[in-house]
Structure formats: C-alpha cells, structure tokens
C-alpha cells in the first residue's frame, strides 16, 4: 500500500488511486453493548486481513481483554505473546495451548468516560492452506491517568483458510465501540 503513493502537495491533494485495500465489513456496538463481534463468510480473495477498531468495555476495571478465535475453533489451538508498557513498568508474557489469542486490551469502566482504546490487528496469509495462521497487533489506551501501549503476536495451529473471525470481550464492549475488517490484496 505504501508503494502506491502518488506524489502531490498538501495544498493539492492527490486523487485516490489505490485498489489494493478493501473494506469488507464493519460492526459498531449499539446501546445494549455486546460481548462478541463476528465476521463470517470472509472471502479468500485477499492476501492479508486487517481489523481496525476502537473499543471500551464494561468491566469494573481499568482494562478488559479482546480475545480472537478463527472458524469457531474453541480448542486449545492458540498461543500468544506480548510486550507492553503502562508508563511505569514493562511487561512481557504470553500463553500457550490457549483457547484464544489475547490480541488486544482496551479501556474499561473504571477509566474516565468517553475514553476508548485503539487497535490495529493484522492476520497474515489468512487463506493459505499450507501454513498455520499468525496475527499481530498494535493496541493502546490512555485516559489521562492510566493506560497501556502494547504489541502482541498470536498463532492458530491450523492450516485451514480463515473464513470467520470472532472477537470476544472479557465483559461487554460498550456503545460506540467499532470494529472494521479490511482485505489487503497480494
């Protein structure tokens, strides 16, 4: 995508020319909240997938988890690792043989109102039936008193093409949380 830049100036914006990145679907959480978001019937015509989101959760904590599974597989076929910093300490940990990829954290009910975390999740070579599937994320939240910025990686030990993605909150996502799925062509 970066290679598709067409030179221009700030005063004369360039015309849209890219067609290698497509919006597939978006889910925005309504007033009742939601504990999960799913994308199904994902076409296999892209090379990579990307999820871009903002999120705030209902748990009585300063953060909640966003966990990710593929193709409705709830077996112990996932693993993940992370490094993050909260302004005072750096944490590196992970999980093996888990039932999900802990792909991001977001701000929660104990943090200041209206603050939402941001996340960008990449799922690479998602349709390749010769590889187990890997994902990575950049995520962060801040509410002017607490917050964390982190990087995560995840593995799904399956060579199946990813045809559905389920994101699950450890509590509920609150209204205005929004998750958008994009496809990147190869």
């Amino acid at each position: 995508m970066i290679g598709a830049i067409v030179a221009g100036t700030l005063s004369a914006p360039t015309a849209p020319v890219t067609n290698s990145y497509e919006s597939i679907a978006t889910v925005t959480v309504g007033s009742g909240g939601s504990s999960s978001v799913s994308f199904s019937s994902i076409p296999s015509t892209f090379k990579h997938l990307q999820i871009r989101a903002i999120a705030r959760a209902s748990g009585p904590y300063t953060y909640d988890q966003t966990n990710m599974t593929f193709n409705s597989d709830n077996g112990s076929n996932y693993s993940w690792h992370q490094v993050n910093g909260n302004g005072s300490s750096v944490t590196a940990n992970g999980g093996t043989s888990t039932t999900f990829i802990r792909i991001a954290d977001e701000t929660a009910a104990n943090n200041n109102a209206n603050c939402f975390g941001g996340m960008v999740i990449d799922i690479l070579d998602y349709a390749d039936t010769n590889k187990n599937k890997t994902a990575r994320s950049l995520w962060g939240y801040d509410d002017n008193s607490t917050g964390t910025i982190g990087l995560r990686s995840g593995l799904w030990r399956s060579t199946s093409a990813v045809s559905s993605i389920t994101l699950v909150c450890s509590n509920n996502w609150l209204q205005y949380s929004s998750f958008a799925l994009y496809g990147v062509k190869g």
Binding site: G8, L10, N86, C115, G118, V120, D142, Y176, S178, A180
Partner: protein, 161 residues
C-alpha cells in the same frame, strides 16, 4: 458483506525548506487516518501532535521503548500536545500514526503509533486527546526545532464499509 476500495492517499509532501510544524486540514469523509512520516529534525526531540488547534492541557500519552539493551516505558498526563517517537538530526526516522474513528463526536480521540530510528530505538506510543469533537486539523510539530528539508509526510484515509 459490503466491500469497497479504500486506503486513499489524501496529501503528501516533501519539505523543500525547514519548518516547525506540518499541518493537515482537509480530510473529511473517512473512518480512520494514517499519517506516515520519514524525516529528521533540527534538534533531536520528540515530535508532537495537536488537534483542532487545541493548545490546552487536554492531552496525555504513554510509550513502550527498546534501545537494543533495555526496554522502558513512561508517560505523562495533562499535556498541551501528544508526544510521539523521538527523531534525530541526521538518521532518518519513521513514525506511522493510526487515528481510528477520528470524526466521531461521541468519544475522546486515541492515537496509536509506531516509531523507529535506527541509531536510537524502536517505540510504540498511545496518545489521548480529551475531546469528543471530530478531528478537523492535525498539527505535527518538530518538538521545538524544525522539520528538516527532505522530510516526507503522507496522510491516508480509510473508509469502513
């Protein structure tokens, strides 16, 4: 499922002369913004972000950094801008800013970004602007000095289905 091409280059510039701030002010109609920077500054420092010309103490930020020998983290509240990854005077550094859902009017705005500077460190940052207004202008300051000639800035827009 709906589908449509997006990730649109909105504006790009290569500085022909040094300047303290690079501004963007015409980027309506998208869901997310991505700002890609490759540059140097006249005085090694951390570039700063401000939105909608708000110079009040309405920003905060945190970072995670690694410099080849150790990892560190830090942050600050009630700031007059969002601090981002540090750049040097000669070795090009890169910063990619992700501003998700920048135009909604119900949430405060969060920016996450990744930065690398080969002669110094690799970092990730999160910044908050405590305002629910849609972002209509972005001012990217050089951190006290100037952006050097040749620094490049490209703003992209992504529109969700």
């Amino acid at each position: 499922m709906a589908a449509g091409s997006t990730y649109t280059p909105i504006a790009t510039t290569t500085l022909g002369s040094a300047q303290a701030t690079v501004s963007f002010n015409s980027f309506s109609g998208y869901t997310d913004l991505i700002l890609v920077v490759a540059g140097t500054v006249s005085t090694a420092n951390n570039p700063t972000l401000r939105f909608n010309s708000d110079s009040g103490s309405n920003y905060s930020w945190r970072y995670l950094a690694g410099n080849g020998s150790s990892a560190s983290t830090g942050g600050s509240a009630n700031q007059t801008s969002i601090l981002t990854g540090g750049l040097g005077t000669s070795t090009i550094g890169n910063i990619i800013y992700y501003i998700n859902n920048y135009s909604n009017t119900t949430t405060n705005k969060t920016v996450i970004n990744r930065h690398n500077r080969a002669d110094d460190s690799v970092t990730a940052w999160v910044g908050l602007w405590r305002n629910t207004a849609a972002i209509t202008t972005i001012d990217l300051g050089a951190g006290g000095g100037n952006w050097n000639t040749g620094s490049t800035f490209t703003l992209y827009g992504i529109q969700a289905a």
